[in-house]
Each structure stands twice: as structure tokens, then as C-alpha cells.
């Protein structure tokens, strides 16, 4: 119960950071960090596929409402939530996905950082792909994708570094 409340606190902190801070960043048009995806990345390992899907859907809807984008976050978040299991299995070489309710960490997942990178890159790819819907002005799109993904990764690592010891503490 304590862990669950800690995870909820983690999600709240992440969402508030996203809504209040990252969505209002006006440093550059190329920087659009989508740090809320860390909520899906760090969801407990034993979560059922349906719960994952619902969590992804709710997260997407919440982000769409706060960002004022109709459906784009849901489009990007749903596949990440749905394909988290296969990604964990094939990319992170973690086969015991139904093991327990622990959050994924460096110690539990053999190739944890690969897993994080793939999740973030896939999410950004779908998000910015659907945002532009064209290959015209490809340079701008690529630069926006690269900068945003890099910034997202940095923020995701930051959140993981802060909260993982607490979430994974036994």
C-alpha cells in the first residue's frame, strides 16, 4: 500500500511537472519534452495489459486536455502502454514480466536503459510523426524530434534517479 501511494505520488509529481513546467517551456520550438511517459515506463511490472491500456488512455487524455491537443497524446501513449510487455521482453531481455508489483529498475531489468530509450524514442516518434503528418520540412521535424527526445530522456532519467530508490526500497 505504501508503494502504491508512493507510485501515485510519483505520477502526480510527474504530471504536475509536465503540465506546469514542461508544457510552458518557451526556450525553443525544438524543445518539447514529453516527460509524462515515465509514468508508463515506471508502472509496476505485474500490471495487467488491460490496466496498462487504461492507464495509457487516461494519461493521454489528461495530457491532451492540458496541452489542448485533440487525441495526439492518446495516439502516442496507447501503443507505448500496449507494447510495453514485448519491449521489456525483447529489448530489455526481461522475461518475468508477471513476476510481482515491483517497478522496473536498473537492478531488476537487465538492460533497463535500453528499455527506457526505446520507450521514449517510440513515443516521441509517434507523437511528432502524427503532429507533422508530412515529410515536407523534414529537417525541422528531425531536429525537433531529436532535441525533444534528448530533453525527454534527460528528464526521464532525472525522475528515475530521484524516485527509483524510494519506489524500489524493500
Amino acid at each position: 500500500m505504501k508503494k502504491e501511494s508512493q507510485y501515485i505520488l510519483f505520477v502526480v509529481v510527474v504530471l504536475l511537472s509536465q503540465i506546469l513546467l514542461f508544457n510552458n517551456l518557451t526556450i525553443s520550438v525544438f524543445l518539447a519534452p514529453l516527460a509524462y511517459i515515465v509514468c508508463i515506463i515506471m508502472m509496476p511490472l505485474g500490471t495487467s495489459p488491460l490496466k496498462m491500456l487504461i492507464a495509457g488512455l487516461l494519461l493521454g487524455i489528461a495530457m491532451d486536455i492540458t496541452m489542448g491537443i485533440g487525441g495526439l497524446n492518446v495516439i502516442a501513449t496507447l501503443p507505448i502502454a500496449y507494447f510495453r510487455r514485448p519491449i521489456l521482453h525483447f529489448v530489455a531481455s526481461f522475461s518475468d514480466v508477471d513476476s510481482d508489483g515491483e517497478v522496473p529498475t536498473v537492478r531488476r531489468i537487465p538492460r533497463f536503459y535500453y528499455y527506457v530509450v526505446v520507450m521514449v524514442v517510440l513515443h516521441s516518434l509517434i507523437f511528432f510523426g502524427f503532429e507533422h503528418l508530412t515529410t515536407a520540412n523534414f529537417g525541422f521535424l528531425a531536429l525537433r524530434f531529436l532535441c525533444s527526445t534528448a530533453s525527454t530522456l534527460a528528464i526521464v532519467y532525472f525522475f528515475i534517479a530521484i524516485f527509483t530508490p524510494k519506489l524500489s526500497a524493500r
Binding site: 491500456l53 492518446v74 496507447l78 503528418l133
Partner: protein
């Protein structure tokens, strides 16, 4: 029903994912005019691709039908070509294989009919592919002459109105052979001589070049029989032939390259074998007996 429920239980998560994703795409498409235009364009592209895929597959299955249609079309075109061929042959009135001859159209530069040895000059020469031995036909395909000399741009043909020219010919009706020549004088009449007395000659019979004529393609019409009389010995017919080509009005003519003519000439120019070449070498035999 149980199977359906079991199946839905197994696939409900992917189903929910697909439905939710499609719904999200629809919501996004309706959110801004830009996304609507782009997604509609993409969907058209995707549907077009799928449709073309199906069309290609259907096209593959209808190949048999297409082949039948194409075969019928080929047969139709073959018939059309044959019809054109026969029309050309009719206009030339020469029953020859068109593929074995090369045709060059040219114009008459000068033409004489009032001498004993008349010649025709045409405006095509060696540079145009003309060579000695080619036949010269009128535009209607009647025999006119034979090329005997060529320069680079002009050629000279020995006219059929040349007393030196002897053309092997036959009656088209009963294929009796004879020799066509010009006796001089009348430019509209030739002589068709040495025709067998057993030939069934009638007025108006067509005289044409024989298969291995040295001067004209096989079947080229030379003229029509006007009259026929037996010679003094009562062994051969000598006929008066009305020339089919109007030699006084020659303008456009056709040069015909009979590709087998050279071989015929070569055979004719070979020295004759001695008369006794088939006899046994008696002397040598006797010597060997000794």
C-alpha cells in the same frame, strides 16, 4: 457462442487497443483543419494503395481472358495485313512473295520510245540502293525495263522497247513458255515467240514473266495476247503482244530488287559441261584391261 465468447476473451485487449487508437486518430483528425486535411489525404493514399493492390490481383486472375482477347486481336490484325497484302499484289498484279523483294520508288528522268534500242533514266542511283539487274516496273506493276547501269544518283534501264532485250515469259492461262522481244516500230506491241503449237492461246491472255526470269520478278505482267499465228514450219506460235505498260506516259516507276536474280545469273553464266561428260571413260577402261 461459447467459442465466440472465448475468442473475445482472448482478443479483447488488442481489440480495445485498436478501437481506442482509431478513436483517438478520429478525434485528432477533427481537432484542426490541418490534421484533418493531412489524415484524409493519407487515408485516401492508403485506400488507393489497397485498391490498386486488389486491382493488380484481379488483373492477374483475368490474364487468361486478356490473352484470349489479345489473340483475337492479333488474328484480326493478321487478316487486315493479309487483306492489304493482297490489295498490293492485286494492284501490281504480280503473284510474288512481297517479303523476298525490295521496292524503291523513283521517277523517270528521260525515256525514249522511238529508237531501236530505247533506254529509261531514273532519278535513283547507287546511293539509293539501286544496283544493276534490278527490275523496273510501272506504277501499276507492269514490266517496263531492267537496270543496266548506275551512277551515284541516277540509273539507266534497258526498256522493254529495246530490240536487244529478250525476256522469258509464259501464258498465265496454261503456262506455255515463250520469248518476249520487241521488233521495233510500234511502241505498244511486242512479239511473244517460240510458243508451243499445243498451247491454248486466246486473245486477251495475259503474258507474264516466268519464275526464274532474269529481268522481272515472277508473275510480272508484260502484256496481253492480241493475235497469234503459227510459224512457217507450223511448229511454234508467234504472237503479237499488247504491252500493258503505257511506255509513252511513264512517270512514277518502281525498282524491284529480286534477291534470287544474282543466283540465276550466276547459274546461267557458268560454262556448259562438255557433251560427253556423262559417257563412260572407255579408253581408260580399255587401257586398264590391257
Amino acid at each position: 457462442m461459447h467459442k465466440l465468447i472465448y475468442f473475445l476473451k482472448k482478443v479483447y485487449v488488442p481489440l480495445i487497443f485498436i478501437v481506442a487508437e482509431i478513436a483517438a486518430i478520429f478525434v485528432y483528425a477533427g481537432s484542426t483543419p490541418y490534421s484533418q486535411a493531412k489524415l484524409v489525404g493519407l487515408s485516401h493514399y492508403a485506400f488507393g494503395w489497397v485498391e490498386s493492390l486488389f486491382t493488380e490481383v484481379n488483373g492477374y486472375f483475368s490474364l487468361r481472358k486478356d490473352n484470349i482477347v489479345l489473340t483475337e486481336r492479333i488474328a484480326e490484325l493478321e487478316n487486315t495485313i493479309n487483306a492489304y497484302k493482297s490489295q498490293v499484289e492485286d494492284s501490281f498484279e504480280i503473284g510474288i512473295d512481297l517479303q523476298s523483294h525490295q521496292y524503291i520508288a523513283c521517277r523517270v528522268v528521260s525515256n525514249s520510245i522511238n529508237k531501236s534500242r530505247n533506254y529509261i533514266v531514273v532519278n535513283k542511283g547507287l546511293s539509293d540502293g539501286v544496283r544493276i539487274g534490278m527490275s523496273l516496273l510501272s506504277a501499276e506493276g507492269y514490266a517496263v525495263g531492267c537496270i543496266t547501269n548506275c551512277s551515284q544518283n541516277y540509273s539507266i534501264a534497258t526498256s522493254v522497247l529495246n530490240t536487244a532485250l529478250r525476256v522469258s515469259a509464259r501464258l498465265s492461262s496454261d503456262r506455255s513458255m515463250g520469248l518476249v522481244s520487241w521488233a521495233g516500230g510500234d511502241s505498244r506491241r511486242l512479239v511473244f515467240s517460240d510458243v508451243s503449237k499445243y498451247a491454248n492461246i486466246k486473245e486477251g491472255d495475259i503474258v507474264e514473266a516466268i519464275d526464274f526470269s532474269e529481268y522481272f520478278p515472277s508473275g510480272t505482267i508484260i502484256g496481253t495476247i492480241e493475235s497469234a499465228t503459227l510459224n512457217e514450219e507450223q511448229t511454234m506460235y508467234n504472237c503479237t503482244l499488247r504491252l500493258s505498260a503505257d511506255m509513252s506516259r511513264l512517270s512514277n516507276v518502281i525498282l524491284v530488287d529480286g534477291r534470287d536474280i544474282d543466283q540465276v545469273r550466276l547459274l546461267k553464266s557458268e560454262p556448259e559441261l562438255p557433251a560427253n561428260h556423262l559417257q563412260e571413260p572407255i579408253v581408260e577402261q580399255e587401257q586398264s584391261e590391257e
